[in-house]
């Protein structure tokens, strides 16, 4: 069955099977959009929390760290309770749409982009901030300088979030409904094909997902090497 799966995966990829390509494209779209939004919120928020002292700061950091380990099924059921008819956001009619998956995955990705940014900026040499200040940097330039100095760690956070969103299942199935041609992602496809007894096809989807994850992980590893090199210099 394993060998069949590999053969089927290659066949589907070479033939550019529309169902597989559709699911792969949707996976990249929803995960990419969710991570983009999470980066837009998480990176400035993480930088702010890393550089300022205020009441509740530690609680925010603790919540961020805890959020990184949220089970995807929990986010999924939470999202369902909000977006389902009769839910607080039911009127928006987002349930079983890609937008619902994007919002759910945004909640998955946000703690990662926030926490890893906060960690990367906090770990910077304090002389970076002091040097920027003493050379006359205003608030914006100061923040941008810190982001630039911590960019390897921040990018690592963004890619980690992307890897988590691409491979998650709970949100995609619960708020997306796993509808063919509309909300079905690669992870959802694997579950469906397996439940229908189409193991080879399920394995093929899995290999494709693995390939995408491998791409992201390879970049993560390269960045980790760069960060280690920086830490030693």
């Amino acid at each position: 069955m394993f060998a069949d799966g590999i053969r089927e995966a290659f066949r589907l990829l070479i033939d550019q099977d529309p169902v597989v390509m559709n699911a792969a494209g949707r996976t990249l779209f929803v995960s990419g959009s969710a991570v983009f939004l999470a980066a837009m919120v998480g990176i400035p928020l993480g930088t702010f929390v890393a550089t300022k002292r205020f009441v509740g700061r530690r609680l925010l950091i603790l919540l961020g760290r805890t959020g990184m380990a949220f089970p995807t099924a929990f986010i999924g059921i939470l999202g369902y309770s909000f977006f389902a008819r009769g839910g607080v956001l039911g009127g928006l009619e987002l349930i079983y749409t890609p937008w619902a998956i994007i919002l759910g995955e945004f909640l998955l990705a946000l703690p990662i982009t926030f926490s890893l940014t906060q960690g990367a900026v906090s770990a910077l040499d304090p002389r970076a901030s002091e040097t920027a200040r003493t050379l006359g940097a205003g608030k914006l330039r100061h923040a941008l300088t810190l982001l630039s100095e911590a960019r390897t760690g921040i990018l690592l956070g963004v890619l980690t979030a992307l890897a988590r969103c691409m491979t998650e299942l709970g949100v995609a199935v619960m708020v997306g409904g796993n509808i063919a041609g509309r909300t079905r992602t690669l992870a959802g496809s694997i579950v469906l094909e397996s439940s229908r007894g189409e193991y080879s096809r399920g394995l093929a989807m899995g290999f494709l997902l693995l390939l995408l994850s491998l791409g992201v992980t390879s970049i993560l590893v390269l960045l980790s090497f760069e960060r280690d090199r920086e830490a030693k210099s």
Binding site: T131, T134, L135
Partner: protein
């Protein structure tokens, strides 16, 4: 330029800096001497506005943006030497036609021409110090605070720094050092 009275700075119950009185006139150069842990660097940090004293009065005429502090172990930003030299000039909104001659002069004085395209992460300790000093001097601040500026510098480079400071007589300079400066510097000193 600077008037300090009854300055005290304590951290975790320990007094790390005590200075009853200090006055510095505009354009004056002054050496703060003292052994390791005597509070020299902390005094410079207070003058730079990076540390806040626990007690006492610190009056400095120069605006915060017109004071430049160079760390004992200077920090260079990611990127090449050229981008580090222009960082402060951009932060102060100084236009290229004004900033370029300043950079060219500093590059020549501190012999940085061959380093301009080098990544800051590949420089030696002495090269980092020369870039950091040049980066501070191109700003022509009103108050320049140098923490052990001669460490890592050979005699010729130390002399180049003195010449660079002499060429900017309006700048007030406070230098912290555990040892006396070379005789050619001829600056009054205070021991902590």
């Amino acid at each position: 330029m600077i008037e300090i009275t009854g300055l005290r700075l304590t951290r975790n119950g320990h007094e790390i800096l005590k200075l009853d009185s200090f006055v510095l006139a505009r354009g004056q150069r002054f050496l703060i001497r003292g052994q390791n842990g005597s509070g020299k660097s902390t005094l410079l940090r207070v003058m730079a506005g990076l540390d806040v004293p626990s007690q006492g009065q610190v009056k400095i005429e120069a605006h915060q943006k017109a004071r430049v502090f160079v760390h004992q172990s200077p920090f260079l930003f990611r990127g090449d030497v050229r981008s580090n030299l222009s960082y402060g000039l951009k932060a102060h909104g100084i236009r290229a036609n004004e900033s370029q001659p300043r950079i060219d002069e500093a590059v020549e004085r501190f012999e940085l021409k061959d380093l301009l395209r080098r990544s800051s992460r590949t420089l030696s300790g002495g090269e980092i110090r020369r870039v950091a000093l040049a980066r501070a001097l191109v700003l022509r601040p009103e108050l320049l605070l140098l923490d052990e500026p001669l460490a890592d510098l050979d005699e010729a480079r130390a002399e180049a720094l003195r010449a660079a400071l002499d060429a900017l007589p309006d700048i007030s300079v406070v230098i912290a050092s555990p040892i006396c400066l070379p005789e050619t510097w001829d600056v009054p000193s205070l021991s902590l």
